[in-house]
């Protein structure tokens, strides 16, 4: 360590920049920890709130004693009932029928599953008290909730909080009875189960099936497919897994930067000492000892970088994980540390530095003593064939020649700069392409649809009478439910055969005609190897249904379109629907109960989700660009520092700062250009690979929209950034008197 301090005293700026660049690179490896950090925060929350492993949405449970009914089932430890409904809220006498908000009724105070807790205030005790999720209302406020049959309930907010089962959503938590009253239920409509031991997917499915059987004996039907959360996960863990995996991928980029940086920093540090080592050899130092000394120095620098880098990495991973969790699920996680990543990055830095140092130290101590003593530079220009070749080409101005020859001379450093620029450009392109791709995807998602608005009635069931829509020629009643096909969660749309709401032009086959016809999204069908004429089994809340595929639709998502009447019959509610599509912004169909209207533009914009993703990727892009920027700065600083005598000589014979700047930037320019070219190529390949992995992981079709529009800006950032760095470095060396530089040359 004292050696490191000695080093810092010797060339403060340069060593500090290297240490910091290395530290930041090590820190950026912390990005790897984000998936773990996020998952562990979520699992902590799941454990704390005792989240259910099986959730069933049902029709009214009436007076059936659900816990008593279910506990005999093998593997069921606890079962509780809940009520989920929607109300419109307003204040005072004039409830404004805003979009419905969820009301969750639970047995407050006696809960053992999905435990609701108050972060501020207290839990509701009386029927007219309510606890709200953060941001919905303040403690003490009064909420007028309009529920089933237009009955208004006045509720006083007594606390703010919730349970992570509902994290990120706006919810009013009330007593079971209050919620049941608002929903017009006798019993409940949601059953949550905690199992005794078997928590894998198959066993949980078996438990859910057994539960559904008992329900059906009691006349209770499922309104949604059972929700299953295996292996102690958090219900939303899978939702953010993709985002965090993607972020983890960027950790690889950071890792590559770190490797390049570690290699070049360590190498320079030791090569610089060729002469010093030669003097010591001359004085009788043994090679082995010298090598050990040099290795120790390099490892010392790496350790110093790790000491700063590890806390930095923990900070980076936690900040980004927190952004992810807050933006996507609305929970604020505690500090989490991924031990493997910490140990891995420290080991990487130390072992890496040692390996590179050993090689460099061997090389340095093997230079013939005579030439090592004679030359200021460890490997003077002209030793290698390539250098002599470059020296023989009298092309370009004299200053440009020195630039080109220096690029040839310091090959590894030149390559490092190319690599770093490549990484910076590639990351920037990936981040921006990701943004444009999401944007395009949001548009293409809706491209086939013609509706301007869709109106739903609060509630999980098919609550709309199909005939209501007959009054409005510009509206259609349809069904939109979740199903399963080949292990994938899919969107099942029930539409009239002559629907106007979706473009019926298909990629292949014909639109639905017969009762059991189905049209499937083309990309999804291809992924599942489904062709026109095949039979498919779609799992609905009511059970499996068989359809014959008649056509493939250009829709990019996982969708199955079937006849609306067939579907309603399948779901056990013939003649009922759950959505009114309209070609206008507002349907003229009169719907009883609470409605929620979604407009086409609102869906296509999807601003918040995009902002969240861009924020996170922007943050990561910033980290990567900062790391590479520092890496380039440190490489350049070493380069300029090493050649300060050369620049002093240039100044002595009349060269101005401008000339030196020209030499440095002429060296940087071709490297930056090459880096930009490679960066664009890798950026394209990388974006494509990420999009491809998303397509494979989600069975959806995403078209890569490479952000060509961003290229000028990215190029400008890289070019101006490197010129600025070069300017700064040159300013530093030229600010000292020439005499001083020449004096220290010996």
């Amino acid at each position: 360590m004292s050696q490191v301090f000695g080093e810092i005293r010797r060339a403060p700026a340069r060593i500090i920049v290297s240490v910091f660049a290395l530290a930041l690179a090590i820190g950026a490896i912390g990005v790897f920890a984000i998936p773990t950090v996020a998952a562990s925060s979520l699992r902590d929350a799941a454990h704390r709130d005792q989240l259910a492993q099986v959730v069933m949405s049902t029709t009214d449970t009436g007076d059936v004693d659900i816990p008593a009914l279910l506990t005999p089932i093998e593997n069921v430890e606890l079962a509780e009932i809940q009520v989920l409904t929607h109300v419109a809220v307003g204040n005072g006498d004039t409830p404004e029928l805003s979009p419905p908000i969820q009301v969750v009724g639970v047995e407050i105070g006696q809960q053992q599953i999905d435990i609701v807790h108050a972060d501020k205030g207290r839990l509701p005790e009386r029927a007219d008290e309510v606890l709200v999720s953060d941001g919905v209302a303040d403690i003490g406020a009064t909420i007028a909730a309009v529920g089933h049959g237009d009955t208004t309930t006045e509720l006083t907010v007594v606390g703010v909080g919730g349970t992570s089962a509902w994290s990120g959503e706006d919810v009013l938590f009330t007593t079971l009875d209050t919620a049941a009253g608002m929903a017009g239920l006798e019993g409940a409509n949601r059953v949550v189960v905690v199992v005794t031991h078997e928590t894998n997917q198959a066993d949980l499915s078996a438990t859910a099936e057994a539960t559904a059987d008992l329900f059906s004996d009691e006349g209770i039907a499922l309104t949604l497919l059972p929700e299953i959360v295996p292996n102690g996960e958090h219900p939303i863990e899978t939702d953010i897994e993709e985002v965090s995996t993607l972020i983890g991928l960027l950790g690889i980029v950071a890792g590559i930067v770190a490797i390049v940086l570690l290699g070049s920093t360590t190498n320079t540090l030791i090569t610089e000492r060729t002469r010093e080592a030669a003097v010591m050899r001359m004085l009788g130092a043994r090679r082995r000892k010298l090598r050990r000394r040099l290795r120790r120095l390099a490892v010392g620098i790496a350790v110093a970088a790790a000491v700063i880098g590890v806390p930095l990495g923990i900070l980076i991973s936690n900040v980004i994980a927190r952004m992810v969790l807050q933006e996507f699920v609305g929970i604020t996680p505690g500090l989490a540390v991924s031990l493997p990543v910490v140990v891995g990055s420290v080991a990487f830095a130390v072992v890496g530095a040692r390996l590179v140092a050993s090689r460099a130290a061997r090389r340095v101590t093997n230079v013939p003593l005579a030439s090592a003593l004679r030359d200021r530079d460890g490997s003077p220009f002209g030793r290698r064939f390539g250098e002599r070749l470059a020296a023989g080409i009298p092309i370009g101005s004299l200053l440009n020649r020195t630039s080109i020859r220096n690029v040839v001379h310091r090959r590894s450093r030149s390559l490092a700069i190319v690599g770093q620029v490549t990484i910076a450009v590639a990351s920037l392109m990936i981040v921006t392409s990701f943004a444009t791709t999401i944007n395009d995807f949001n548009v293409s998602e809706l491209e086939a649809w013609n509706w301007q608005s869709k109106t739903t009635v609060a509630g999980e069931g098919l609550d709309i009478d199909a005939e209501l829509a007959d009054t409005d020629p510009r509206s259609e009643a349809g069904i939109d439910v979740i199903g399963e096909l080949g292990e994938w969660e899919i969107e099942v749309y029930g539409l009239p055969a002559d629907t106007l709401m979706i473009n019926r032009t298909l990629d292949q086959g014909v639109w639905i005609e017969q009762p059991n016809d189905a049209v499937v999204s083309r990309g999804f069908a291809e992924r599942l190897d489904i062709s026109v004429g095949d039979d498919i089994e779609v799992l609905l809340a009511s059970g499996p249904a068989i359809y014959q595929v008649t056509g493939l639709h250009p829709d990019p998502l996982r969708s199955v379109f079937v006849g609306v009447e067939t579907l309603s019959t399948e779901l056990g509610a013939s003649g009922r629907r759950n959505v009114i599509y309209s070609l206008d912004n507002e349907t003229s169909v009169e719907l009883a109960g609470l409605t929620a209207v979604v407009h086409y533009d609102a869906v296509s914009e999807d601003e918040t989700a995009r902002r969240a993703i861009m924020l996170i990727f922007g943050a990561i892009g910033f980290v990567v660009v900062a790391v590479t920027g520092l890496a380039i700065a440190s490489g350049l600083a070493v380069n300029v520092y090493e050649r300060r005598h050369e620049f002093a000589a240039l100044e002595a014979i009349g060269g101005r700062r401008r000339d030196i700047y020209r030499v440095v930037s002429a060296e940087l320019a071709p490297l930056a250009m090459l880096g930009i070219g490679l960066g664009l190529a890798f950026g394209y390949i990388g974006s494509w690979a990420i999009v491809d992995s998303f397509e494979a992981g989600d069975a959806v079709e995403i078209n890569l929209a490479f952000a060509t529009g961003a290229i000028p800006a990215v190029v400008a950032v890289v070019v101006l950034g490197s010129l600025a760095i070069a300017g700064l470095m040159v300013r530093r060396v030229t600010s000292q008197p020439v005499a001083e530089m020449l004096r220290t040359a010996a």
């Binding site: 023989g392 009298p394 020649r401 009349g654 700062r657 401008r658 008197p737």
Partner: protein, 273 residues
């Protein structure tokens, strides 16, 4: 083609090329500060070959750097070749150096990535004389020939011996036809024969009217100068004292080391050859 120095030998009238008044170079501030050059008054005439001698650490290099415009004084004024160089900005000073001084240093300081010929061409290019590339190449060739290295034009510095590198450095200093050449121990790392060659080249430049300021430890070389300036502790020997403190112990005085003569030189510079 014969290489000729365009500056004609000066006449007998003394015209100063270097005029230093109260010249001081100090490092650091307050009590921690120390002086490299202390209140120096000095005048060097055009076409003169002046040698600076003195013990190690006496400030020779510091004074040489100031005169060559490689460093800036902390006090005093310095006029060289008609320009007040103590007040120039860095860039102007660089430009001034390019067209007015040639510099030769102990460690040669050739650009390692340029060949011998290219190193010389670069000096020409930076000296602002608007010469064509072709002309530059010719003159660089002539300068190399004048130091006897025509056959090594395409060698890189690492492929040249120390003496050869120094000859290239001298050629580089002379090719711009500067009015002043400052040479700080140009023969310091050379053997005697190479040292003589380099000295003769510098003397040749004087013969063509260039002023040469030679800093050296070599008694013999200093003895061949028109004038010897002695330094001690950052000062030039005080002529009125008649003697320079510590002079006896100095090992650099050589055969012209008579107090009267050196004092005389300090007040009335002139040609002795």
């Amino acid at each position: 083609m014969e290489f000729t120095w365009p500056i004609s030998p000066s006449g007998s009238a003394y015209r100063p090329l270097v005029q230093a008044t109260d010249l001081t170079r100090r490092w650091g501030k307050g009590t921690a500060s120390h002086l490299g050059v202390d209140n120096v008054e000095l005048s060097i005439g055009q076409g003169e070959l002046a040698a600076i001698v003195g013990p190690s650490g006496s400030g020779k290099s510091t004074l040489g750097s100031l005169i060559a415009g490689l460093d800036q004084p902390t006090a005093g004024s310095l006029v060289v070749a008609g320009t007040r160089i103590d007040q120039l900005s860095n860039d102007r000073l660089a430009r001034w150096r390019g067209s007015n001084v040639g510099i030769v240093l102990q460690n040669f300081h050739l650009l390692p990535t340029l060949t011998a010929a290219e190193n010389i061409e670069l000096a020409l290019k930076l000296s602002e004389s608007r010469v064509s590339r072709r002309e530059r190449r010719n003159r660089s060739g002539e300068a190399l020939a004048s130091v006897g290295l025509s056959d090594k034009a395409k060698r890189l510095p690492t492929q040249l011996s120390g003496g050869e590198q120094q000859r290239v450095a001298v050629a580089r200093a002379m090719v711009t036809m500067p009015r002043l050449i400052v040479a700080d121990e140009p023969t310091g790392s050379l053997d005697q024969e190479s040292g003589h060659i380099v000295f003769d080249l510098l003397a040749g430049a004087v013969a063509n009217g260039t002023t040469v300021l030679l800093i050296t430890h070599d008694h013999e070389l200093a003895g061949q100068a028109d004038r010897v300036i002695r330094m001690l502790d950052g000062r030039i020997g005080d002529p009125s004292a008649g003697d320079i403190p510590g002079q006896q112990s100095s090992d650099v005085l050589g055969h012209r080391d008579e107090p009267n003569q050196s004092a005389d030189e300090l007040v009335s510079p002139g040609r002795h050859r």
